[in-house]
């Protein structure tokens, strides 16, 4: 079996059956674009929900009254050293009062009346991941000089579970879609090859071995899948790039921060597409000629 023969035969076949080749490639492209769109959507929704979630992770740590500078500092560095703490910002009690005043807005002057600021000094903690909340709170409570730790436990756990839920749904959706795409592409290639069963049986009758017949078919399927994958990647790139530009330019920019970058999407979906396209192209042709080979 010569490689040159296989290659020559493959390309001849692609051309001889050009209508079929065209139909197969377009079906592959169509399927992969659906898959790709959902893939990108899920990727982004995940990212946004991950990002949005972490906005809710502020924990307030009220310090006991009358700590000196060193004690305060050491508490601060203990907190910062905890795993999961991104930022801990010291908020002096007068700053806290100012903020309250701002909150009251036009009624803020009412707070001017205090002789002594009744609020405590505090640290405001931002977490790297909302999932660390429980752990961090527990650790902080062990530190000396803390009066109270404030955070909304229920709210946080609800947000965590919603985000988990979105992730799971997205993941399942993608798995289902991969299965369905696999199925459609496989089916398409099967149908495309079915019109060639006479051809295959004749080849067998004149003494061709299974692999002699199979190689060009496998290569054909792989190429169909590959070309389909490349075209889909191209289309996805253009579409996503366009959407991305719109989203990041305009006032939507508050979402845009969490969008997955064009390059990452491009490389991810290319890998996905080529794996599925070529894999199923090759596998599809092997399985679909198997029954015809049996003569």
């Amino acid at each position: 079996m010569k490689v040159s023969y296989t290659l020559k035969e493959t390309f001849k076949n692609l051309w001889r059956n050009r209508l079929m080749s065209f139909a197969s490639i377009t079906s592959v492209v169509a399927t992969l674009i659906i898959l790709g769109t959902i893939f990108i959507l899920v990727l982004n929704i995940n990212n946004v929900s991950e990002g949005a979630k972490d906005q809710f992770t502020s924990i307030e740590v009220y310090l006991e009254d009358g700590l000196d500078f060193n004690e305060t500092e050491s508490i601060g560095s203990e907190i910062s050293a905890l795993q999961g703490v991104k930022l801990s910002e010291y908020k002096e009690k007068n700053r806290a009062l100012e903020e309250y005043k701002e909150q009251w807005g036009k009624d803020g002057y009412l707070l001017d009346g205090f002789a002594d600021n009744p609020l405590p000094n505090s640290y405001v903690i931002t977490l790297t991941k909302i999932e660390f909340a429980d752990y961090v709170v527990k650790k902080i409570n062990e530190i000396e000089g803390i009066e109270e730790v404030r955070y909304d436990k229920d709210f946080i756990s609800k947000i965590i579970s919603i985000s988990e839920y979105i992730k799971t749904i997205g993941f399942i959706l993608i798995l289902i879609l991969i299965a369905i795409s696999t199925f459609i592409i496989n089916n398409t290639i099967k149908l495309a090859l079915d019109s060639r069963r006479t051809e295959i049986s004749i080849m067998k009758y004149v003494g061709a071995t299974n692999w002699f017949i199979r190689w060009p078919f496998v290569l054909e399927g792989t190429i169909l899948g590959f070309v389909g994958a490349m075209i889909s990647t191209g289309i996805m790139y253009v579409l996503y790039n366009y959407t991305y530009t719109i989203l990041t330019s305009d006032f939507y920019s508050l979402i845009a921060v969490y969008l997955v970058g064009v390059d990452k999407v491009l490389s991810d979906s290319m890998v996905l597409f080529i794996t599925i396209g070529c894999g199923i192209g090759a596998l599809g042709s092997i399985t679909s000629i198997r029954k015809h080979l049996d003569v």
Binding site: K2, I202, M203, Y205, V206, G207, A208, T209, N210, F212
Partner: protein, 229 residues
């Protein structure tokens, strides 16, 4: 070369193609296989080709028992045979030259030049050099038949089996084909030819095997088409 030992073939739908035939065809023989329509002649060929399996009995080819054969070994058996199919079986999307060359490509080991010269040679023999680049659907019935013959003889098979190789040919072209078959036979190839052509059988004076309703009813050296031979 070819040996049938009590071979029967009953098709799935119950029709009997061959019933209990024992026959031996030696290396270098030229045999006519005759019989009315549906007598079992093509069934005989298909059994040797391993296109179908016998229901009973054993089949030997070139000394090997090919009754039960692993699927993978079948192609190698087929390469020993040159077959002219009754329904031609040309690859519809290949040109005449590609169809004929395919047999050599399968076996492998031929250089491009060697293949091209061999193809020209056999196409010249059957008188189709000028149709090398046509597709089968652009050919007349007789031309398709001749392509089929060219393909069968290109790799000097040990056995040449021709199922009505002259069925679609005028008498003149038929005789050209007969000449080719005789030449090939003289070079040592065993030839089994199925035919309805009384004249050819009568004139050639070769061994005649007659089938009727799946059973060999005559096996005669130097025979003719009818009983009088």
């Amino acid at each position: 070369m070819i040996k049938f030992n009590q071979v029967s073939k009953r098709y799935k739908n119950g029709v009997v193609g061959l019933r209990d035939n024992t026959i031996s065809i030696e290396k270098g023989e030229f045999v006519f296989l005759i019989g009315s329509s549906g007598a079992g002649k093509t069934t005989f060929v298909k059994l040797i080709l391993k296109e179908i399996e016998p229901s009973q009995g054993r089949i030997f080819l070139d000394g090997d028992d090919i009754t039960k054969l692993h699927r993978r070994k079948i192609p190698y058996v087929r390469r020993k045979l040159g077959i002219v199919f009754q329904d031609f079986r040309l690859l519809p999307k290949m040109t005449v030259a590609e169809n004929v060359a395919y047999t050599l490509e399968i076996v492998g080991g031929y250089s491009k030049r060697k293949i091209r010269s061999q193809v020209s040679m056999v196409l010249g023999v059957v008188g189709l050099l000028d149709k090398s680049n046509m597709k089968p659907h652009q050919l007349s019935g007789g031309e398709k038949q001749r392509v089929s013959i060219a393909r069968a003889i290109i790799n000097n098979p040990k056995v040449l089996i021709a199922d009505e190789p002259t069925g679609n040919l005028d008498p003149e072209t038929s005789w050209e084909i007969m000449k080719i078959l005789r030449q090939i036979n003289r070079r040592g190839t065993t030839v089994v030819m199925i035919t309805h052509d009384k004249e050819v059988v009568d004139i050639m004076k070769k061994r005649v095997i007659e089938l009727n309703d799946g059973k060999i009813i005559r096996d005669q050296m130097n025979g003719g088409y009818g009983y009088e031979g």
